[in-house]
Symmetry: D2
Subunit: 209 residues, 4 copies
Amino acid sequence: MRQVDSQGEHAVNEKERRELLGAVAEAVAVIEGCREFAALIPEVRTNIVYAARDAQGPEDVAAVDGRITVVNGMPRAAGRPRLGASSHMARAIVEARKLGATERAGINFANDPHLAEWLREYCRSKDWVFGHIDRGQEPAEMQREDVPSMPWKVRTMMSSTGGRLPKVGYETGAVGKEPVSALFGDDAVIVAQEMCEIARQYKRPRRSW
Amino acid sequence: MRQVDSQGEHAVNEKERRELLGAVAEAVAVIEGCREFAALIPEVRTNIVYAARDAQGPEDVAAVDGRITVVNGMPRAAGRPRLGASSHMARAIVEARKLGATERAGINFANDPHLAEWLREYCRSKDWVFGHIDRGQEPAEMQREDVPSMPWKVRTMMSSTGGRLPKVGYETGAVGKEPVSALFGDDAVIVAQEMCEIARQYKRPRRSW
Amino acid sequence: MRQVDSQGEHAVNEKERRELLGAVAEAVAVIEGCREFAALIPEVRTNIVYAARDAQGPEDVAAVDGRITVVNGMPRAAGRPRLGASSHMARAIVEARKLGATERAGINFANDPHLAEWLREYCRSKDWVFGHIDRGQEPAEMQREDVPSMPWKVRTMMSSTGGRLPKVGYETGAVGKEPVSALFGDDAVIVAQEMCEIARQYKRPRRSW
Amino acid sequence: MRQVDSQGEHAVNEKERRELLGAVAEAVAVIEGCREFAALIPEVRTNIVYAARDAQGPEDVAAVDGRITVVNGMPRAAGRPRLGASSHMARAIVEARKLGATERAGINFANDPHLAEWLREYCRSKDWVFGHIDRGQEPAEMQREDVPSMPWKVRTMMSSTGGRLPKVGYETGAVGKEPVSALFGDDAVIVAQEMCEIARQYKRPRRSW
């Protein structure tokens, strides 16, 4: 049941809000301690999100204010955990849950063809569902700035995996959109640990320039 | 019951740890939003602590890593909420609870004679217990570096108020020790809100230099 | 003349390095004080760069470690000014200088069709050179990951403006690349001030979602 | 000659301001890279200051906004280099220069009897002037809150060393004042390097509690 207090109607009560913020704080500690993850932070930077059980929108999802960037070669959260701090990753989780997914946590990271291939193998070895979408297939009307593309992306991703949210998914880049990957799960701290395990296992090929 | 996991015995299980960290994250948001509190941050800086229900020592108390300082005229947490991030304020709460206090949260702030007098009146208006200790009365053996003075300080503070932890207390400075005040309560977020209310009400007299 | 010290050959001596870092520190103070600029920070985040007089590569260019993101609704530098902290914007300046440009400072910011149109008018009113490149025209071989596209981008941008680096330029997005704008000038602090003036003048139309 | 611009009269022109800020930025990089220095950061936290050649007061001295604290076991600057960011250490340098000292940089750090004895020996081995003041000797009128004690402290310190500012000095604690040490020199970056060398050499005895 949604709560109503002096700040209006909320899907998140005080107790759950603290659990969400505390979990993101712990997840950030995991990520900030993993030097190898710095190499997987995309240009758009990383966020880790954790949705309330009854999340209706980004304001019901805890994330890192200012995202996670790289300082001094290490992952560094720019700000504090805050509800409403993520738009993109938060909407991905909220949309997926509307379509029946039960996952509440997610983290985005880099993507390129070499990594995508490696992730496919990694997921196979873990028996994890792996998914991807080709944003080149995105309907033209999605590309107007005033139409949110997230519902299409999540629907397409999930329909490619039999209706489930994949454990790891990626999207190819589109015009104006960096290709990114994401990892999903039930719990923000466990997602952070799984992410760091990937970062430590993956050896990115060295660029020639 | 204390938990035993791969990292050893803990008074704090995963669920409670998240509640503590989340509450401190929320408390920091309250404090960082209160410009007036910047004027009450002491030289030793402020910490806000929140103890587990069965806290045995600082490692069972959530606090701000690096304390809260002043940047650009506003309060700013230097690091993230973390268990074990406070020594001084954490030991104050743990000692008080050993003596029967039920409070789990505290925040330290500045002290000077003008503020102390104002706090006494403020507590009277709120019907809050007000306490203080004179560190000049501290037994000589307490002043050796290898003897912790916190047990004496908390015992003395509480015995001056009939065995209760005061809502607001202060200590006069001793040799090598800045005089500080502290505010205690059951909940870290409420303590932060009460602290900011004090900061907004108090008008510090301007220094002549 | 390039310097050789215990850390190898450098285009930047100690004195110039301090001037560069100090200028970026001042530029960051300007940017962090401009709330309106938060709305112009792109997904890939902003950096402000300031190149040494004889800069040969990114390691001779001062910038903000971790870029500038948005925390609590305000621009916030993630880390400290550091030589070598920027790759993208630093290479833009270095390439432009190889082609005869004298500018040493630049800052990147958001782009969308509405803003691009507004910038064109703004530049006209200021008598500033305005340039743009269409990344859709980028030769196919540029799009391989191992071929740097910056030389092509800078050459194309400058050839569209008679060989000069424009005061303000933008690129349309390409596959995998967010469309961004940039502002260039002789001095990092003045560039920051000009950027904030733009941010204060520009009223972004509200999104419908 | 003092400069007059739109912000009033300044002892620091734009060029010198950048040099000061850039030097403090470099000094912070040195300090943040030295794990051992974390153990020497006092309760009141550390600042590193660098005064303009014609500094008249704290507003002409560059320092770290919010001081340097300990996050995650490492020294961490809370904010950016800024003129006017230090009061205490800045006034120490300004006072010393009024009495003929030529040093422009200083950093404060912890003090206790064991460290003080070690520093005395260290200075002897380096042929550095070592000084100290006993704040117990401070005239009673200095202890009123409205009388600045810095002039007395600096005068006493310098008179104990034949009129020179010592390379390393410390003060014993007074009522309400933590005992601290300070290291002085001509240049902020070199002072930071000397400070880290001390931190790496010094092995603090382990506390028994």
